[in-house]
């Protein structure tokens, strides 16, 4: 079972799921000239192309209804099911934020026509079978794993969850209460790092269907009824939105059985949400105030870059070099943590990243029409908040201006050729990648990435980086106790000197001189302070 006392860890995965609306419904900050890029003495480089004013909507691909994806693995004794619906928090009706995620929970945990929730748990338990649901902005996944000894029984239960959910008022209330607690406690109080990421999402996607937290808003969850759940399931968990993934010892008969049973789902439901373009407004900062020992920092911007774009692989390469998630070989990790001792880690991402629990890898099936490039600075002592943020910007900017040295380039290529193989070592992840490839129109995504790695050069990567990575486009989110104090610093941007507990080499101290006064691309009129206890209210 999930550990009780680490429930917030389990929640942290959910908390990464996206943004939320802040309660301080301030008007969008006034447009202002883009700030100048940080001044550094670096190699002259050609001018960057004009930044786009918005990230347009290029819809994800729509596979055929109930398209089947099979990753046969006859030697495995474990059968994996992965049902991916093109339905997510963007489908939440206004005022009912959290409905898609709650609906998925009520279906997967609330019992079936034949089994109460307790009987469902009792049926799955002796098999050690897994049945989970997870929702993101645009996709909801129902996943199952079972030993082949119990396949028939599990298949009945797994399909009943979708076709004949119990929808009991009691379970609805229980799961809604849990979802509310996840917002009121988990999000607002128990995990500063995730709160910072959610705050950044709220900032980047203000006014967009991505803006609210996938788990819902407080008012949204309070207003949801069991009837809403029942209707919503029929609206969004439909054949035309479904991709069926099967892996393990899967034969023709099982494929036919699964497709045949799921044909009982509604053929169609609600029309797909039409996502608006996202303004690429830069220079905003959101400071979330809460009692905490440290300051958590996330920065990023929305981008038209996504899988399938010719620049995606080289930019992914470059940001892996800058800061592969929870690996110690990245530049940010080395410079900010290892050399300066600022915090526990610092990372960078070419697309939205949600850590799959128990791994250091990105979750699969969180595909998004519109993407973001982000940098994550794990909590620092409050006095170093400004310096750490400037430090991350300094090294990001250096990447754009100077590129990757040849020796580092070769190391990173070797790293990714090996490390990327670890991303596809389970049946569920292989299915996930195959289904994402359908949605993005990028067949054999990881093979294509490795093929691209073999052909990249430092010059080709830097060219893509210069097209796509824009330090001046960044927006900033912070979680800290002295929010007003930090907001003042962000507006006035005085130097942020730093002292160390141990001697540092001259070259590091020289770099620090550039960092401590580096202008952050933040507009003084676009700095907001929000108390955590009102965050995600509606």
């Amino acid at each position: 079972m999930r550990s009780l006392i680490s429930r917030s860890l389990a929640l942290s995965a959910a908390l990464c799921l996206g943004g939320c609306a802040t309660t301080s419904q301030t008007a969008p900050p006034p447009e202002a000239p883009a700030p100048q890029a940080p001044q550094q003495e670096q190699a002259q480089a050609p001018a960057q192309p004009q930044a786009p004013a918005t990230v347009p909507t290029v819809p994800l691909h729509r596979p055929a209804p109930m398209q089947l994806v099979v990753q046969a693995n006859p030697a495995s004794p474990i059968v994996s099911f992965r049902l991916v619906f093109h339905a997510g928090s963007v489908d939440d009706p206004k005022g009912k934020e959290g409905l898609t995620a709650l609906t998925a929970d009520v279906l997967s945990e609330g019992g079936t026509r034949n089994l109460t929730s307790a009987q469902l748990l009792e049926a799955l338990f002796p098999m050690a079978a897994e049945l989970n649901a997870s929702t993101d902005k645009e996709l909801t996944v129902f996943s199952g794993r079972v030993h082949k000894d119990h396949l028939a029984r599990f298949l009945d239960i797994f399909t009943d969850v979708l076709l004949a959910p119990r929808l009991s008022p009691q379970e609805f209330e229980r799961l809604r209460a849990r979802a509310l607690s996840d917002v009121r406690n988990g999000l607002r109080s128990e995990n500063d790092e995730m709160l910072g990421k959610v705050a950044l999402d709220a900032l980047l996607y203000q006014g967009h269907p991505y803006a609210h937290f996938v788990g819902g808003t407080e008012k949204g969850l309070e207003s949801i009824t069991l009837e809403d759940v029942k209707a919503h399931a029929a609206r969004v968990f439909t054949q035309d939105r479904l991709v069926i993934g099967l892996a393990g010892p899967v034969d023709e008969a099982l494929q036919k059985t699964v497709v045949s049973r799921l044909s009982a789902l509604p053929a169609t439901g609600a029309p797909r949400v039409e996502l608006p373009p996202v303004p690429t407004t830069a220079g905003r900062a959101l400071v979330v105030q809460k009692p905490t020992l440290s300051t958590a920092v996330s920065l990023g911007y929305v981008t038209p870059l996504r899988r399938g774009d010719p620049d995606f692989f080289p930019v992914s390469f470059a940001l892996s070099y800058l800061g592969e998630h929870r690996q110690s070989s990245g530049v940010l990790f080395g410079e900010l943590r290892e050399k300066r001792g600022l915090n526990y880690g610092d990372y960078a991402y070419a697309e939205h990243f949600i850590e799959q629990p128990g791994t250091t890898y990105n979750r699969t099936n969180i595909a998004r029409t519109q993407q973001d490039i982000t940098v994550w600075i794990r909590p620092v002592v409050p006095g170093n908040g400004m310096f750490a943020t400037r430090g991350a910007l300094y090294f990001l900017d250096r990447l754009v201006k100077q590129g990757i040295p040849q020796d580092q380039f070769e190391l990173r290529r070797g790293f990714l050729l090996g490390y990327s193989r670890l991303w596809e070592q389970t049946d569920q992840r292989r299915l996930g990648y195959a289904i994402d490839s359908l949605l993005y129109g990028t067949p054999d995504f990881l093979e294509q990435y490795r093929a691209a790695l073999a052909k990249m050069t430092p010059e080709s990567v830097q060219a893509a980086v210069r097209r796509q990575i824009r330090p001046e486009a960044l927006n900033f989110a912070f979680v800290t106790q002295d929010a007003d104090g930090l907001a003042k610093l962000l507006k006035e941007q005085p130097p942020s000197p730093i002292s160390y507990a141990s001697p540092k080499p001259p070259e590091l101290l020289s770099e620090d001189k550039a960092i401590i006064s580096l202008p952050l691309p933040i507009r003084a009129d676009a700095v907001q302070v929000v108390p955590a206890q009102t965050f995600m209210e509606k």
Binding site: M1, R2, S3, L4, I5, S6, R7, S8, A75, S76, I78, A118, L121, F125, P126, M127, A128, H147, E171, R174, A177, V183, R184, N185, R188, S189, E190, N191, D192, T292, S294, A296, R326, S328, S329, G334, R337, E338, R340, G341, L342, N343, Y344, R378, P379, V381, L411, G414, F415, L416, L417, G418, Y419, R421, L422, Q425, T426, A501, S502, Q533
Partner: protein
């Protein structure tokens, strides 16, 4: 990173090491054959061929954790030292190790618990021989400067800060401090905040720590996946063979018996769900007793998702958002706990009463044999479900072996679980789950349930 809660943990002690070379056949409790060698210097080397073409998992288990932090002011040091193990040697100065890891693309990290420190790498077989070389080198010849040590101490402080936002760190600190008055299980693996802040001043002690515990006779090496065994062992003997230190002995204080109930309350200054813990002092995991296996079954029996308590408190009455146990196997006597995340503070008495009633019912002999069988089935299939990758296999082997002290501990533990009888649960509950042997921890948030 610190990993306090190791899923699947259970234990049995007793260092029944095999002979110098031994083939351990596959069994219902571990479905892969295992080759075990013990080098003359005491290093235990375990290999498990596993279908993961071109990939291996490589894990080094050091039988040291926060349990070994016996000196005042040194709490958190095993975990801090785990960080220092990445700081280089003369042969591979700081940063050079990263180059090797990066060249091949290994997923490379470590974790520390109360009893063990595990260093794990997962990646291409092509890098295995080089990995053997750099791993052996750091375990034999670790060398780092005082400034590097002082800088890393700040990263550990950052780790403390990131964890401090969650109520669990405080819960763990207070529960340990209350339940243990002498034994080092009284402090957490992260260590006390004041000790973490003082770590930069402990450079000399860090060398002592290395010499004491990072010795071949205190280490087990696991390699799982796709590899040539002869080549691997040739490299292992070459690089690890000259390692010649002997493990130290320190006096980990014995915890005196508990004679009356203890309690501790936490007023949590922020919003969270109220929590209620009952934690009993229970025996260590040892291979010559069934105590760990019984506790593993007992956790599911009392508060698992198919328990009557779960049905009553979570599903039917909805007095608790969740209930469960945080039991994990330990080298020395530790705790068996039942935990409730309450819906509301007002539910505390009813939940505590339900906990007491369930324990009393079991201790007085009422036990559901069919549920015990279901738990065993869940354990058996759960083990198979959890062995999908070379890394997941290696991690389970490492954790059990590190705590029990023998390479085949995982299989022996699961065999023990399969032998647990309903009457064992009754006898255990009667003996250990008593009020006098219990610590009650309560946590009340500033704003219960997050209500503003």
């Amino acid at each position: 990173m610190t990993q306090r809660l190791l899923p699947l943990l259970l234990l049995l002690l007793g260092v029944a090491l095999p002979a110098a070379a031994e083939q351990v056949p596959a069994s219902p409790f571990f479905p892969y054959p295992m080759q075990v060698d013990r080098l003359p210097n005491g290093l235990t080397v375990v290999r498990v061929p596993f279908k993961s073409p071109g990939l291996i998992a490589y894990q080094t288990v050091v039988r040291v954790g926060s349990r070994n932090e016996v000196e005042p002011g040194r709490t958190g040091f095993a975990h801090f030292f785990e960080h220092m193990m990445f700081k280089g040697t003369k042969n591979f100065p700081e940063g050079e190790r990263e180059k090797v890891i990066s060249t091949y693309g290994f997923d490379d990290n470590a974790f520390t618990s109360d009893d063990i420190t595990v260093y794990h790498s997962y990646g291409p077989t092509a890098g295995l021989e080089k990995l053997v070389e750099i791993e052996a080198d750091r375990f034999r010849n670790l060398e780092y400067s005082e400034p590097s040590f002082q800088t890393e101490a700040l990263a550990v402080l950052g780790e403390y800060h990131k964890n401090a936002a969650q109520p669990y760190l405080k819960i763990e600190e207070e529960l340990g401090r209350t339940a243990f008055t002498k034994h080092t299980y009284g402090h957490t693996t992260l260590g006390y905040y004041d000790d973490v802040k003082a770590m930069p001043q402990a450079y000399q002690y860090s060398r002592t720590f290395f010499e004491r515990w990072y010795t071949p006779d205190n280490v087990l090496l696991f390699v799982v996946g796709d590899f040539d065994d002869a080549k691997l062992m040739q490299a292992v003997r070459k690089h690890y063979g000259p390692w010649d230190r002997k493990v130290a002995s320190v006096n980990v204080p014995t915890e005196p018996p508990q004679t009356k109930e203890r309690s501790v309350h936490i007023d949590w200054p922020q919003s969270t769900q109220p929590r209620h813990f009952h934690a009993w002092r229970t025996p260590a995991a040892r291979l010559d007793t069934a105590n760990a296996a019984i506790q593993a079954v007992l956790a599911d029996y009392l508060v698992g998702t198919t328990s009557p308590l779960y049905k009553e408190l979570v599903l039917d009455k909805q007095l608790a958002q969740d209930i469960g146990s945080d039991f994990g196997i330990h080298r020395d006597p530790h705790l068996f706990s039942v935990v409730a995340v309450l819906q509301k503070e007002e539910n505390r008495a009813a939940v505590a009463s339900a906990f007491n009633a369930a324990v009393k019912e079991l201790a007085t002999g009422k036990v559901d044999a069919s549920r015990v069988e279901a738990i065993k089935s869940n354990t058996r299939y759960g083990l198979l479900m959890g062995m999908e990758t070379a890394k997941s296999v290696a991690t389970q082997l490492s954790v059990y072996a590190g705590i029990y002290g023998t390479p085949d501990a995982l299989a022996r533990h699961y065999q023990r679980v399969s032998e647990v009888k309903p009457a064992d649960l009754v006898a255990f509950a009667k003996k250990y789950l008593t009020a006098a042997n219990r610590t009650v921890l309560t946590l009340t948030p500033k704003t219960a349930g997050g209500q503003k």
